[in-house]
Amino acid sequence: MTSSPMPSPSAGLTGGAAPVGRLRLATVILRAGLRSQLANRADFAMAVANGVTYQITVLLFATVIFTRFPSLDGWGVGAILLISSIRMLGHGLYMLFFGNLGLVPHLLREGRFDAFRVRPVPVFLQVCTYEAPINALGDLTVAAASLAVCLSMLSVDWTVAAVTFLLLAILAAMVIELGLNLHIAALVLRFRGSESLFFWLDNTAANFGNYPLTIFPSVLQGAFTFAVPIAFAGYYPAAWLTGHADTVPFTPVLVFLAPAIAALSLLTGTWSWRRGLAYYARNC
């Protein structure tokens, strides 16, 4: 690694070493990160617990709303739980692999980001492996439990096609979140101090991405479909799986578009991240 030529500072998601070497490197760095976090075991345990408690808050919010307001546009508890399960599993996977993107402001403030730029490894990889993502374990635990509960409540015929669709939907949810967060990380590189947008996206998806889109007015249906497409990270795929495809706004075709939206989100996010890095290299 040390003898390889130094990449340009704008090296984005794909620059640097060969993919296999990068994967090995990521594993080594992550293992070291995990060990350093295990140094303080109480904090480690609390970080795992935090993932659990945060997702419990989200579920409790949904439960309270459901108990107090039983009719949510013809969707039953199991169907709504499927929306949040897909979203939460996607979110847990995002946190596990890419959640460190939210640490970019912290890395910038401490000057570590500048060190990343001069090393012969992609900046993105260094960010993603900066810290072992302990929280994600808690997130994934709650998401898996939530999925198990909702599957027991739903009477879906789990054919191979349906299971593949569900897995694709979870992956799409992860990639959509990655794409959107790459946009925000790029903004943070350009405008210092705009990091609260990470909180905004997380909070908006967690508290508004768990319901049938039709309960919102059309302006929000449009916003969550075309501008910040969090409806594809749960609602639209769940609508197909639970037989609500004919009730979705705009067109029923949308229930199949989660993978395409994920690809688009990732492409634009990557482009944005590269532009952000290039801007940072020129101006900071």
Binding site: A42, D43, M46, A49, I65, R68, G193, F216
Partner: protein, 298 residues
């Protein structure tokens, strides 16, 4: 504990960001009181230094308020019924105020990097104990400024909310005044809870886990996300007597008329009691923290 005040940091601490003087820093006057009140401007000035933060905060707070309003209106639908003793207008008013109070605080959390957690990590916590102002007073003044800044956001949001009809003004002048008093007590409780969590870093060095766990409790049990009135009876009864409820639930419930002014005294007394208990606890922790100070990299 051995403390070195030389090396990095020495000579730059205490100078304002606009200071351009090349000469020696004038020694503080031997007589007269230090102008500690200027520390209250620390957080607002940090925010001003990173102006995109202000735009981002306005965007985040504005959109969050809008989203919650839409959600509550959708949930109540066309009906004018009451749920858990709250009608649609009360629920929307509650949500707007709770979001303004909760979201503003979450965004501000640790933004100035003047927390024990970050200072212990880079070793500069030593300056808290070598200044002419005690660490406890330093943090209190900084917290006061943070509270004032958050209040400015709340008042702006309240003015816009009342003007646009999103927030119903307090039913009576007495209700508004009682809510204001309750808000002040709530801010003290809020500061003390944050301080106690932050001070745990003196023992644990890294306290992200504790901080996040406390943030969870704060969001859930303060009523910032869901009005506590909507919880099941047993949970509401328990949560409403915890200090978290004193920060958001009580003042907002008083403002929206969900707690009538005639019943306010026990709530205010409980808030005041929490202020005292937490202040005593934090005083005790300050003493022990100072004895235990460990400087990393300083």
């Amino acid at each position: 504990m051995s403390v070195r005040t030389e090396g990095r940091g020495s000579g730059t601490e205490g100078r304002g960001p606009g200071s351009r003087t090349a000469g020696p820093v004038p020694a503080p006057r031997a007589t007269g009181r230090p102008r500690v009140h200027r520390l209250a401007a620390l957080v607002p000035r940090t925010e001003w230094a990173y102006r995109p933060r202000i735009a981002a905060t306005a965007f985040v707070v504005g959109t969050q308020v809008f989203l919650y309003v839409v959600l509550w209106r959708a949930l109540y639908g066309e009906g004018t019924g009451r749920v858990a003793g709250m009608d649609a207008d009360q629920a929307v008013s509650y949500s707007v105020l709770a979001t303004l109070m909760g979201t503003g605080r979450v965004i501000l959390e640790g933004a100035s990097q003047e927390t024990a957690q970050s200072k212990i990590r880079d070793g500069s916590v030593v300056f808290w104990f070598t200044r002419p102002v005690s660490a406890r007073r330093y943090c209190a003044w900084r917290g006061f400024g943070e509270s004032l800044y958050a209040t400015a956001w709340l008042l702006t949001g309240l003015a816009v909310g009342v003007a646009t009809g999103l927030v119903e003004a307090a039913p009576t002048f007495a209700a508004g005044a009682t809510a204001a008093l309750s808000y002040v007590l709530g801010q003290v409780v809020f500061y003390q809870i944050g301080l106690l969590v932050d001070l745990t870093s003196f023992w644990t060095i890294t306290s992200y886990g504790v901080t996040r766990l406390a943030a969870f409790a704060q969001v859930l049990l303060s009523g910032a996300l869901i009005p506590l009135w909507f919880f099941p009876g047993w949970l509401e009864a328990g949560a409403s007597h915890l200090p978290f409820a004193a920060t958001v639930h009580v003042p907002v419930s008083l403002f929206t008329g969900r707690i009538p002014v005639a019943d306010a005294v026990p709530y205010l007394a409980e808030q005041f009691a929490w202020c005292l208990v937490l202040a005593l606890l934090s005083r005790l922790m300050w003493r022990r923290a100072a004895r235990r100070l460990l400087v990393l990299g300083g």
